[in-house]
Amino acid sequence: MHVEIVSRGFDPWQELRSYQDRSLPAQQGKYGATAVFVGTMRDFNVNDQVLLMTLEHYPGMTEKYLTEIYHKAAQRWKLLDGLILHRVGELRPNDPIVLVAVWSAHRSEAFEACRFLMEELKSHAPFWKKEQLKNGTRWVEKNN
């Protein structure tokens, strides 16, 4: 599995392709299901147009937390592999923010684990977003 905090723009589809080619050959023929979530920055939040977003994290704890929740998910749903990439730094609307992908034998584990990972990430992973609006900046106060 691979967890990475990425400080420059990435293409989630290319990363997925490249991870699948590079790291999954050992699992070829074993995974029947791949579930993927990609989060992308929008240009609008709570009635305001967002021009730019800065994503901060807690170096060390963020990676540790994401790795731990993957291992929790892998035990609960028997996953074969997983990939979590999350941006930090400056983002503009339409930039990918996060990629979560899991591979498993069957679809119900893949769907559920992917959902679980995203919900845990949103609730507990130490990241903070600061938005640049037309008339100033604000910290996003809580996740949806």
Partner: protein, 100 residues
């Protein structure tokens, strides 16, 4: 009251001294809007042995009550304010997380 913090020191003499006077040094970190509000990303406090996270907060905030929505991590694991801290621990305080 003279407050001395030897957080930057790390040597045998200081270690013996701190054992004798029963104090511990704790590294503190702040993130996001809390960092902006407190005006610093890091701090270091010297506390009596057996101190808890709540006492760390008390010192870094100048006696402000710990807000309900401030999250705590000790050595990069989530923790509660009642948790005791040990020498060289890293205690982080931060607002609700908003990743993803």
């Amino acid at each position: 009251m003279l407050h001395l913090s030897y957080c930057e020191q790390s040597n045998d003499a200081w270690d013996k001294y701190s054992v004798a006077v029963k104090t511990i040094d704790v590294q503190v970190r702040f993130f996001a809007s809390l960092r902006e509000r407190l005006g610093r990303a890091e701090d270091c406090v010297t506390l009596p042995r057996g101190a808890t996270v709540a006492q760390v907060w008390d010192q870094v905030s100048g006696g402000e009550p710990l807000p309900d929505n401030v999250l705590i991590a000790v050595n990069m694991e989530y923790a509660q304010s009642e948790q005791p801290v040990q020498g060289e621990d890293e205690v982080a305080f931060f607002p609700p997380v908003t990743g993803g």
